[in-house]
Assembly symmetry: C2
Homo-oligomer: 797 residues x 2
Amino acid sequence: MLVPTIVVLSSLLSSAFAGPHARLKHPKSRPPKTGLIEVLSASSSSNVAFSPVSVAPKTNIFISLTNDEAASVISFLHNQTELNLTAAADAGAWDNAIEVVDLVQPNKTDALEYLDNDGPIPARYAVARIAFGATEEPYLQDFIVGPLPISNASTYESLDWATTSGSAKIRNYNADDDLLTQWNFDVTATVADIVLDLLNGTATGSDDDDFDIWGIDPLWMEEIDGEQRVILWNTYWRFPSDEDAVFDGETLLPQGLFFKSDITGRDSSKWKVLGWLYGDIFYSTTEEFRNAWKSPDFIKYELNLPGEWIGSDQTGTHFPADNIAPPVAVQPNGQRFSVDEEQKYVEWMDFSFYITFTRDTGLRLFDIKYKGERIIYELGLQEAIAHYAGNDPVQSGTAYMDTFYGFGPYAFELVPGYDCPTYSHFLNATFHAAELSVTHRNNICLFESDPGYLMQRHSSSNYLALTKNIVFTLRSVSTVGNYDYSFDYVFALDGSVETIVRASGYIQSAYYAKNNDYGYQVHDALSGSMHDHVLNWKVDMDVLGTNNTLVKHKVAPAVVKYPWANKTRSTMRLERERIESEDDAKLSWAQNGADMFLVENSDKLNKYGEPKGFKIAPSRGGAGMYLTIQDSPNLLKSQGFAKHALYVTKQKDTEVRSSHANNDYDPGNPIIDFEKFFNSESLNQTDIVLWVNLGMHHVPHTGDMPNTVFTTAQSAFIISPHNYLLNDASRATRQMVRIDYNASGVQLVKEFGGKMASGVVNVTAQQPNFWNYEGDVAVRKFPYDPLHPFNDTESIV
Amino acid sequence: MLVPTIVVLSSLLSSAFAGPHARLKHPKSRPPKTGLIEVLSASSSSNVAFSPVSVAPKTNIFISLTNDEAASVISFLHNQTELNLTAAADAGAWDNAIEVVDLVQPNKTDALEYLDNDGPIPARYAVARIAFGATEEPYLQDFIVGPLPISNASTYESLDWATTSGSAKIRNYNADDDLLTQWNFDVTATVADIVLDLLNGTATGSDDDDFDIWGIDPLWMEEIDGEQRVILWNTYWRFPSDEDAVFDGETLLPQGLFFKSDITGRDSSKWKVLGWLYGDIFYSTTEEFRNAWKSPDFIKYELNLPGEWIGSDQTGTHFPADNIAPPVAVQPNGQRFSVDEEQKYVEWMDFSFYITFTRDTGLRLFDIKYKGERIIYELGLQEAIAHYAGNDPVQSGTAYMDTFYGFGPYAFELVPGYDCPTYSHFLNATFHAAELSVTHRNNICLFESDPGYLMQRHSSSNYLALTKNIVFTLRSVSTVGNYDYSFDYVFALDGSVETIVRASGYIQSAYYAKNNDYGYQVHDALSGSMHDHVLNWKVDMDVLGTNNTLVKHKVAPAVVKYPWANKTRSTMRLERERIESEDDAKLSWAQNGADMFLVENSDKLNKYGEPKGFKIAPSRGGAGMYLTIQDSPNLLKSQGFAKHALYVTKQKDTEVRSSHANNDYDPGNPIIDFEKFFNSESLNQTDIVLWVNLGMHHVPHTGDMPNTVFTTAQSAFIISPHNYLLNDASRATRQMVRIDYNASGVQLVKEFGGKMASGVVNVTAQQPNFWNYEGDVAVRKFPYDPLHPFNDTESIV
């Protein structure tokens, strides 16, 4: 857009810039040439000295359980004889054992009393996830244990109030892992000759096995002869071998042979093979399969074999210029944010927040404040679905809910110089599972960076004004199996907070035979199995208090008759709509970006009468955010949060999470069914929570071989002030310059105390030492000896 | 997504990572600890030494006219007496004068013959845009002049074949700029007392005027008494004043008083005032307006006055940490791309391309090759619309088409250390207008950078593999009036090319009275006038030749009965659809990103049978790409390219551009009406062109005060290989590391010759000197003296 009054050269030249009807600006008086750089010490300059070490203003009430807390909870539970617990290290399938202990996030009402009103610090409680195996009908159950520290006042009870099912129990239809492994080998033994012929390998349980056997996730329930049966479809995956054995390419090596098992009950002698599938032909018995295989017209498909192609090392002709080191960021003048390492509290410019880390969802942020006011109470991942499709039952039947595996356990140490700048500030994080406390060293990084474009610029005939865009990033990466999910929370000087997820790593792929409706062929006998990623975030915004409303401002076409026009005009208008009930609270981003979603406090108007708020909008990606399959037979009642782009619900202390790590055990009877959060409650000026999905439809092509790359596999949303302040917040930074000039040259360089990086940097000394990569520290919790916390675990560090 | 076989710690710890049915991977043999960093000199290493200076393999046939060429064209035209030209410097409204000369881009057929088949170099032709003022019906017309250099063989003719109207002529209904300026002052004089009362200022043409007067763009045609009349609505804008006069904030100072003029014809004594508007009340005569103003119930609205609020300097409390310099990127080991400065040819890794620069659209890229094969013949901006709406006729009537003003003239010098890294490679660019050749110094920058996240990563129980994401950016910024458009073309190691536009600068705003259906109130008497930005790009892709097809691959829900299932299953499928006719070629990005658009060569299959292609997808933003108003009364037949997200047409040498810089003169009778490109032609395996829109719906709020910021005002699309190669192209880089480890620690660090940045960098010495900002060099072209090219223009450099 342009106002034709701006001309940079003198009026003599102005005719060069536009057509005959350009309207020229009157020449303006220009500042005198001073020949000096004017460095302002802004009058409003703060006198507070900066320290990179901060002290949290309040105790971090969200912080993960300490090792001692976890140990005391575990010990307490072992003392409850009715639980009949066995130490996790000794427990078998028929024992009861503690799987996970973690913090029960304090109720928001209590937390706000503490944070805002000098109320008492909320009592700490733990959740203990216990697997009950000592029964014909094994199950898992969550218990709340506390208050902590454990004392005579401490009790435990089923954590039913945090569920939608009314019970924190869920059945485990697949408790006998050892039996199942043996079953798979036994079934394979009945067709060992066929497997050898078709797949050229063996799976017997020996060390030189060629195949790994696994299949659908979650398991299916199927009615057979009027009875609900537990069904598992399995397939054969080849192990990488030879020189490429180090590479984690097993998910590129599906072999195309499938078998269906009825694994109902705990007596594997009653389990049954219900059929075989090869080349898109189903054989309902092993005998039928064998007969077909023997017949002369049996069609054999190509082998999908490992090789150099599954490796991710450098390959192909490299570029001469690539012998030279590329540009790198340096931080010669020191860290510009502060961290309270003990309290996991961070301050950067006008932002502050607390960090925590959970087994299920990894890194989480609480009490994000901006200019002293809370804007987000809670920000963190809830669940990640990867839903596949294919002509074979294993791809068709796969719909991972990754919190089952957990984002905490797989959030490994980061590599400076690659994962994060070498000058980053690294933090550790700990989770507690199977009666071990495992500390990931340096698995969270915090750093400032210049994303390579400005925050603000403007030039005119008189001046240029330029403001740097320095952002602050909090990052962790969880490698949940074949995929590496990188999570960024990026804070910017304009008050925006961007949440980014990127995916790299190996795809899970399909055997190629007759799968071309479900993916591209990406190698000799391989199909890039199509799948949807949906990652759900909880975004509990509090804009100037908890009484907020989600409003939708639509840029809408309109036909309007104006007083100054004889005829109607086709134009557009801003239409304001309030989402006032949970009945209207399942939302999508509009076609062509026509809708803006704002969280506003309708009672807090700025001086111009506009409600103060924040906008939430997609910012990167665009390849999809919610599930294509709206009624998945795999996910059943566990996909309620993944059917729209975003949702808004009334905040309740009983509706803390949109999913549950145990839903995967029985997705038709989930512990948390997000759909049940919707019960027509008013969302008008009340405490609301947004549930926002990121993701992508991923149809892997040859460019995903061997690994998907982050550049085209990313998705993000951004929260930014909207009529919240009276101007652009980035005006507060010193990292800007104004250059006044005229035809005689530069007249004034105006700086604002924002120094450019200076000094001499030994870049060589900043090179990372990759030999420092360490791995995790594990502390055994039961039996626990605080004086020897590494009891029995040092060897596995 | 996860395959549950990956466990990073030893099997002892494995139970910590998942629930009871986790299926554990067989332990793998691990590489021996070598204690050495293995640096590979890849067997496929190229022996070609790298030089940052390249020699273009072919002459840049797209390069802008040289100053000599422009001068000779101008001289040639002045010799054509029937044109009756006056030197631009002397020309008035009643003269004929040359406005612009530029290159006529060679026909693609000729260009490919030269580039690919050693055909003759295409003859060079210029386009000359001439304003014919010496007539009662003034007009503009484009002529093609050539071949160049000018010789006896050179001729000129109307450039009709590059139009859809059949004529390169367009009427100019507003040729008398001087008369109009005087008209505005004369009209104002009739109500000077009212203006002083309502707006507290004057507009008389004197140096101390308070107001600038301008209005709608383009002009309207309105039928009055059966005759087409030329209509202009004007309003008053206040000049910034006092200490904030340097700031370009006039577009923040609309005053809320409007008048409508009939300016038909060239005799301003016949022009008429058709009414006034104030406070949303229309007065059809000046007398009516005066009477109302005199009446006691006349409502006066608040003044919109300048002040510190329009300045963009540092304001507000700054942060203690901001006294420290932020991180900065350095390039200690030298430039890794090569440039042929004379031919404007660039090579980076596996990419090469030619640059040109035009008056209308600024920077353009031609013949983008990837791994030696052309993938994009032409990539560049076509047009940028900014369409406003409002309760007043000026906002409602404003729909800028910015090529009218031109992106070339306003693509000013960039500031190292702010606009681009200090280590960037800068290029100059020249345009020719009003018989001047103006060279922007350092207005294009090229640089490598690390965008702050990896290209690839994967970790397993055995290893980490990490690849850097080093990108190469080509950038220019055009400040077209109040807005600064930043254009990036970003090349990445995975073969992707991203086109990004960002907007900063001042908004054009509206007076606040009764405008709240069209924008937020953003200051005392100011509304942030809502508007749509639509920027159209030509993307002429050539995938392995010119026979290409656009295909749409849909991720579609499906209900399927599989041979292995008793019941149908709700699932999804990849549906492949070909866009085979221009009848189906107006396209939008699907809701939830469900469609992938691919340009493929259906006859060139990869070894797995998939057609080789490139995907095109939105990558940033998401706030809209096409016009909300589908039938704008302002744009009429000139908005054809802006009604959908993307279009595909058959390539024709006569359909070079989707818009024309002169369409703005008469948008109802445009020289190029993009809709006319659509005439049912086959798009099946033929040379196709994509026309892709970026943009946003911009409803400015207080955060746009004083300037819109780039962070939330950006939009991009990315083109990336899709089944084009057999694997991820980034595997060719040396900038990767593999770390093999086990419970005993790191066993092997494998590098690939990709050095980390090294050496000692004097960061202080890299600080930019803002006093070096220079501005432009202008060379007068007529009368032209090659020995004294700065003839009469030195003073304005």
